[in-house]
């Protein structure tokens, strides 16, 4: 399938995402981009390149707090060549379904001044806005 933007490939009717929260903002990532999830002690730091979301994507004027009681988890990027992971607080929801019809593009002004952003859209689910982040673009981003 070829879309107007020239992007080829099948477009699914829904995606399955994992959600987590940083500074009260809910983010979602496509489960297809995640190879697995490990706790910190299950990761060999010499083998994996691990970073936190906010190291890649600074939150200006926002205080980032790890929620007490949550042990951070590492999301492993689904990439056989690069062993890398993203450290987040314990995910809120895993493998939830999001219909394509409930996804909105980012507003034009945000796209214009943030064109290389890993955040590619907003999913509306149960009255909540979930910022959809592309795991590959996020990890490729210079922190």
């Amino acid at each position: 399938m070829k879309t107007e933007s020239g992007i080829t490939g099948q477009v699914p009717e829904e995606i399955r995402i994992l959600t987590f929260r940083i500074a009260d903002v809910c983010f979602g990532m496509d489960m297809d981009q995640i190879a697995g999830m490990r706790s910190l002690d299950q990761i060999n730091p010499r083998e994996y390149r691990v970073c936190r979301f906010e190291e890649k994507f600074p939150f200006r004027r926002q205080e980032i707090r790890t929620h007490s009681g949550n042990s951070p988890m590492i999301l492993i990027l689904n990439d056989e060549e690069k062993l890398s992971g993203l450290c987040v607080d314990r995910p809120e929801n895993i493998n939830i379904s999001v219909s394509i019809d409930s996804i909105r593009p980012m507003p034009a002004l945000i796209e214009a001044c943030n064109s290389a952003s890993p955040i590619w859209g907003v999913a509306l689910r149960e009255g909540q806005m979930i910022l959809l982040a592309d795991f590959y673009k996020l990890m490729a981003r210079q922190g």
């Binding site: 903002v25 980012m106 507003p107 002004l109 001044c113 952003s117």
Partner: protein, 172 residues
């Protein structure tokens, strides 16, 4: 004895004739609708034709990676709108949210966005002839976004801002 039965009709006919002779013509003067809002102590306006909706303040979802003057996004009945802090865009200190704060949903061309203002004071209709050139002492940061016109509202100067220029600065 004069016949008064058609007196009123005769008077009315004469009144009309005189008005026609005097060349008095009622012209519906072209008017502009203005949405007047406050930033700090100063009054500004957008043309009503650029304003789609005025919303009470609601929590804004932060989007990382945006310039500081883009506060974030809101959900307006299923549409996602960006929200601009016009204070910061104009080089002033950040907007302090109060009960009077409003989000003006504005659109120009294909671009649409919310603009956070301190309060919306009024929506008025003014004859275009009442729009004057802005005073030369207007602050540079304001002048950059001015449409080149101002009016008076409750004895105060109101500078008319161009949403296209605001959006243009962000997109440049």
């Amino acid at each position: 004895m004069p016949d008064n039965t058609d007196k009123s009709e005769r008077i009315l006919a004469e009144v009309k004739r005189r008005r026609e002779d005097s060349g008095t013509i009622d012209v519906e003067e072209e008017k502009a609708e203005l949405v007047i809002f406050r930033l700090g102590e100063d009054y500004y306006a957008f043309f009503g034709s650029d304003v789609k909706e005025i919303l009470p303040y609601e929590p804004i979802t932060f989007v990382p990676g945006c310039p500081e003057y883009i506060i974030g996004i809101i959900n307006v009945r299923g549409d996602i709108e960006s929200v601009i802090d016009i204070h910061l865009l104009m080089g002033l200190s950040a907007t302090e949210v109060t009960k009077k704060s409003r989000i003006i949903i504005s659109s120009k061309g294909t671009v649409r966005s919310g603009i956070l203002v301190d309060s919306v004071e009024d929506v008025i209709s003014v004859p275009l002839s009442c729009l004057k050139r802005p005073i030369s002492t207007l602050d540079r940061s304001v002048k950059d976004f001015s449409l080149g016109g101002e009016t008076i509202y409750q004895n105060r100067y109101v500078t008319i801002l161009d949403t296209g220029k605001l959006f243009g600065k962000i997109q440049s």
